[in-house]
C-alpha cells in the first residue's frame, strides 16, 4: 500500500465503491420527484439514518470518501514532484483525453460541492435545525422541505449542475481507469467496461442534475 501501485489500487477500490454509492443515492433522490409532498422521501431519509446496517455501511462510505480524497492529494503531490521542470510546449491533447489529465481538478470541483452539499442536507438531517412532519402518528424530519427550499435558489441549482458536469467527466475517465488499475484489461471485457463506463458517466450525473432543475422550475 506504500507503493505507487498500492496507492492507485486504493484509489480504484474506493472509487468503484463510491460509484455504487452514487446508484443508491440517486435511487433515493428520485423519490423527490414523486407527487406526494415528500412523504416517500422523508420516510426513506429516516430509514437511511436509523437502520443499523445502513448506518454501519455509511461509516465505510465516509472512510472511502476520505481515503479517496487524501490518497488523491498524496498521489498528485508525488506526481508533480516527478516532473519539477515542465515543458515549454506540450500537445497532450493529441495523446490522451482531457478528463484523464484533469482528474484532480474535476475531483476538486466535486469536493467543493460535497462540502456545501453535506452542510446543507447531511448536517441538517442529522443535527438540524429541521421541521418535523407526522405521517400516521409517526414523526419524521421534513428533509423534503429543506431540499425543496435549497433547490428553489438559483445559485444552488447552478452549483449542483456544474458539480454534476464535473462528476460526469470524472467518471468518464475514472470508471474504466479503475478496472485497468485493478489489472482487468482484456479484449473480451474492454468494450463492456468502456460502454458501461461512458453510459454511467452520462446517465447518472444527468439524472442527479435533472432533479434540482425540475424542482426549481416547479417552484418558479
Amino acid at each position: 500500500m506504500s507503493s505507487t501501485l498500492g496507492k492507485k489500487l486504493l484509489m480504484a477500490l474506493t472509487g468503484l465503491f463510491l460509484v455504487i454509492f452514487l446508484v443508491v443515492h440517486l435511487s433515493g433522490n428520485l423519490q423527490l420527484l414523486l407527487n406526494d409532498e415528500g412523504r416517500a422521501f422523508n420516510v426513506y431519509a429516516k430509514f437511511m439514518t436509523t437502520n443499523p446496517l445502513i448506518k454501519t455501511t455509511s461509516f465505510i462510505l465516509y472512510a472511502a470518501f476520505i481515503v479517496h480524497i487524501i490518497w488523491a492529494i498524496i498521489l498528485t503531490v508525488n506526481n508533480k514532484k516527478a516532473r519539477p521542470v515542465g515543458y515549454a510546449k506540450t500537445s497532450a491533447s493529441t495523446n490522451s483525453t482531457w478528463s484523464s489529465r484533469n482528474m484532480g481538478i474535476l475531483g476538486t470541483i466535486i469536493f467543493i460541492f460535497l462540502v456545501i452539499h453535506l452542510k446543507n442536507f447531511w448536517y441538517v438531517m442529522h443535527w438540524g435545525p429541521i421541521d418535523m412532519v407526522k405521517y400516521e402518528g409517526q414523526e419524521y424530519r421534513d428533509l423534503y422541505a429543506t431540499v425543496d427550499m435549497a433547490f428553489s435558489q438559483l445559485w444552488y441549482v447552478v452549483l449542483y449542475v456544474v458539480a454534476m458536469l464535473g462528476l460526469m467527466f470524472h467518471l468518464y475517465h475514472g470508471f474504466s481507469s479503475a478496472f485497468q488499475t485493478l489489472g482487468l484489461n482484456h479484449v473480451k471485457y474492454n468494450p463492456v467496461i468502456k460502454f458501461v463506463g461512458v453510459a454511467f458517466a452520462i446517465i447518472v450525473p444527468a439524472m442527479f442534475a435533472a432533479i434540482p432543475v425540475i424542482i426549481y422550475f416547479k417552484n418558479f
Partner: protein, 249 residues
Amino acid sequence: MKITLKVWRQKNAQDKGGFKTYQLDDVSPDMSFLEMFDVLNEQLLKKGEDPVHFDHDCREGICGTCSMYINGKPHGPKQTTTCQLHMRSFSDGDTIVVEPWRAQAFPVVKDLVVNRSSFDRVIQAGGYVSVNTGGVPDANEIPIPKKIADEAFDAATCIGCGACVAACKNASAMLFVSAKVSQLALLPQGQVERKTRVEKMVSQMDEEGFGACSNTGACSAECPKEISLENIARLNREYLSAKSSSDNV
C-alpha cells in the same frame, strides 16, 4: 526548407538553462531530424560556438538513445524514434521547439542529453532471468504457445528510450516497467523469479522518483514501439498477486 529551431541549451546539471533560437536556411526534406542537428552543429562549430549536445547511437530506430521532445511530443509528430523522423514531416518556414525529456528521474546532463540510468537500475533490480551455466538446451525443449511467445515478444520490443516517461503528465515509468516485467512473466523461463522480480522492480521504480500511473494512455500513444497498455494492467495484476502471496513481508 527554411526551419527555425528553438533549442534548449543548458551548460550542465547545475545551470538553469534556456531556449536559444537558430535559423537553418537549407534543410533537405529527406534529412532525418538528427541529420538536421548535425548540419546545425557544423555551422556552430565553424562559428566557434558550442555545438548542441544530444544523445544518438544506432540511427536506425532500434537503440532508443535519441531522446528529444519535439513540438510538445517525445520523438516529434510521428510515432517513431527521433532518428527515424524526417524533415518532410514538417513544412517550410516551421518553428520547431526542441526540449530534453523532463523528469525528476532523468536529470539533464547537458543541452538535450538526459541521464537515464534510473531505467538501468530498475532493470538491475529484477529485469533478468538467472540461469545456471551448463549444456545448451535443445531448441523447442520448452513448449511455449505461439500467442504467448508473440505477447512476450511485443513487450520485449521496448527499447527503453523513455518516451513513455517524457509523454506522461506524471513522468511515470509504468509502461517501461510493465513491458520489462511482462516479457519475463509470460515465459516459462521467467517463472522462478516472477514474484520477487515485480516487487523489486516496482520498488526501484518508486525509489527513482517516477510518478504514478493515471491511465491517460499518453505513454502508449507516443511509444515508438507501440507497447500496449495491456502490459500496465498485467503489471498491476503481477504486483497485486506477488504482494498478496510472496514471502517478503
